[in-house]
C-alpha cells in the first residue's frame, strides 16, 4: 500500500504483509511511523513512539 509521509510528504510503501504495530521509516526524512490496522482492515500510519528511557530488553 502507498502512503504519504506525515512529516515531508514523500511517498511511503507499506508492505502488504505489514503487521499491526510494525515500524516503517520514511526513505526521504527518516521519520518512523507505526502501522496501525483498523478493525475494518484499513491501514493507517501513526507517528511512532520515541525511544523511552526504560526501553530495551
Amino acid at each position: 500500500m502507498k502512503a504519504k509521509c506525515l512529516e515531508c510528504d514523500a511517498d511511503l510503501e507499506i508492505p502488504d504483509d505489514a503487521v499491526n504495530g510494525e515500524i516503517v521509516s520514511c526513505p526521504d526524512c527518516g521519520t518512523d511511523f507505526e502501522v496501525s490496522i483498523k478493525d475494518n482492515g484499513e491501514m493507517e500510519l501513526k507517528p511512532a513512539e520515541i525511544e523511552g528511557e526504560d526501553w530495551g530488553e
Partner: protein, 307 residues
C-alpha cells in the same frame, strides 16, 4: 472491563487455532524483529497466538480470571519494549491468575541491574565488582574506590544507554553532574562497576526454561566498547560448553527463570555474569545459530500452559 480490539489481522493470526487447546498471548508495544519472528513461528507451528498491543488497551484489574484469559490468552508472553509498561501489565495479569512469561519476579529482577546483582551474588555467581551509592558525593567516592577505568551504569535501562566508561575522577564528576541534572530518581542511584580486563567481546547465552539453546560472542562495532547489538555490535557463533551451560542455568534460576538472555564476560579468573535480560532480543544471535529461538519460546509457553 478489559478492553481489547480484535482486528482482522489478529483473526488471521489465529490460523491453526484448532490444532492446540491453548491460546498463547503475546503482549507487545512495538513489533521488533523478535515479535515478528514469534508471530511467524506461531503460524508455521499452528499455535494459536493472540496478539495484544499494550498501547491500545486499558485494564480493570478486578476482572475475573476468565475475562482475562479471553482477552490475553491462557499463557501470556510479555514482550513490551518499555520496561515499566511491561512490568505493570505483568503484575496485573499475574494477580488475575494468568501465567506470564516472564514472571513479575523475573522481570523485576532482570529490569534492574542492582536487583540482578543481588540475585546473582546470593546464588554465588561471580559478577563484576560493584559498588552502589545514593548521592553524587558518595558516587564519586565509590568510583575512586573501584578505581579507574570504572563503569557507571543506570540501574534501569538497556542497549547500553548512558553506560559510561570513565577513565578518571574528572570525567566521573562530569557524568555524575549530568545525571543529577536529569529529573529521574532512578538515575540518582549510582551503580559503579569495575572495568573487567576482558577480550573485546562478551557472551550471550539464551536460556528457555531449563534448556540452554544457543550462545554467541558479541563484538562491539569499531570505535565503541559496548557490545550491545542495538549499538551496532555484531554476533559471532560461540560453542555452548558445559561450563557456559551450567553458568547460564544457574544465573537463570537465580533471577527466577523463564525466557532469558544471560550476558557474561571472560574475566581474568573466569566468567563474570553482568546482566540477565528479561525481554531478550535475539536477532543478533539468530544469525549465528540454526536454532529457531522464536519456535522454542512458543513451545516453552505451550509446555507451561499444559502443565
Amino acid at each position: 472491563m478489559v478492553k481489547w480490539s480484535l482486528s482482522p489481522l489478529k483473526s488471521r493470526e489465529k490460523t491453526g487455532a484448532n490444532n492446540l487447546m491453548v491460546t498463547i498471548g503475546l503482549i507487545y508495544d512495538r513489533i521488533r524483529w523478535e515479535e515478528k519472528a514469534l508471530i511467524n513461528a506461531s503460524k508455521k507451528a499452528g499455535i494459536s497466538l493472540k496478539t495484544v498491543d499494550a498501547k491500545k488497551i486499558y485494564i480493570n484489574p478486578s476482572e475475573n480470571t476468565k475475562t482475562f484469559q479471553e482477552a490475553f490468552g491462557s499463557i501470556v508472553i510479555q514482550r513490551c519494549i518499555g520496561y515499566f509498561r511491561g512490568l505493570h501489565i505483568t503484575a496485573i495479569l499475574e494477580n488475575a491468575g494468568l501465567t506470564v512469561i516472564n514472571s513479575f519476579r523475573t522481570s523485576l529482577t532482570c529490569g534492574n541491574k542492582l536487583f540482578t546483582t543481588l540475585a546473582l551474588t546470593k546464588a554465588g555467581i561471580l559478577s563484576p565488582k560493584t559498588l552502589v551509592a545514593f548521592t553524587p558525593e558518595t558516587a564519586l567516592e565509590a568510583s575512586d574506590k573501584v578505581g579507574y577505568p570504572a563503569v557507571l551504569k543506570p540501574v534501569v535501562g538497556s542497549w547500553g544507554r548512558l553506560v559510561a566508561l570513565v577513565k578518571d575522577r574528572e570525567s566521573t564528576q562530569a557524568i555524575i553532574e549530568a545525571r543529577e541534572e536529569i529529573r529521574n530518581a532512578l538515575l540518582h542511584i549510582y551503580y559503579v562497576q569495575e572495568f573487567v580486563k576482558r577480550p573485546p567481546r562478551d557472551i550471550r547465552i539464551i536460556v528457555i526454561g531449563k534448556e540452554v539453546v544457543a550462545a554467541s560472542y558479541r563484538h562491539p562495532p569499531p570505535g565503541e566498547w559496548r557490545t550491545n547489538v542495538a549499538r551496532g555490535g555484531t554476533s559471532k557463533p560461540c560453542p555452548v560448553t558445559n561450563e557456559l551451560k551450567e553458568l547460564a542455568l544457574k544465573a537463570s534460576e537465580a533471577v527466577g527463570g523463564g525466557v532469558l538472555a544471560v550476558d557474561c564476560m571472560e574475566g581474568p579468573n573466569g566468567f563474570l555474569v553482568h546482566e540477565v535480560n528479561g525481554t531478550m532480543e535475539f536477532r543478533g544471535i539468530s544469525s549465528t545459530t540454526e536454532v529457531d529461538i522464536a519456535k522454542k519460546v512458543l513451545e516453552y509457553a505451550v509446555g507451561v500452559a499444559k502443565k
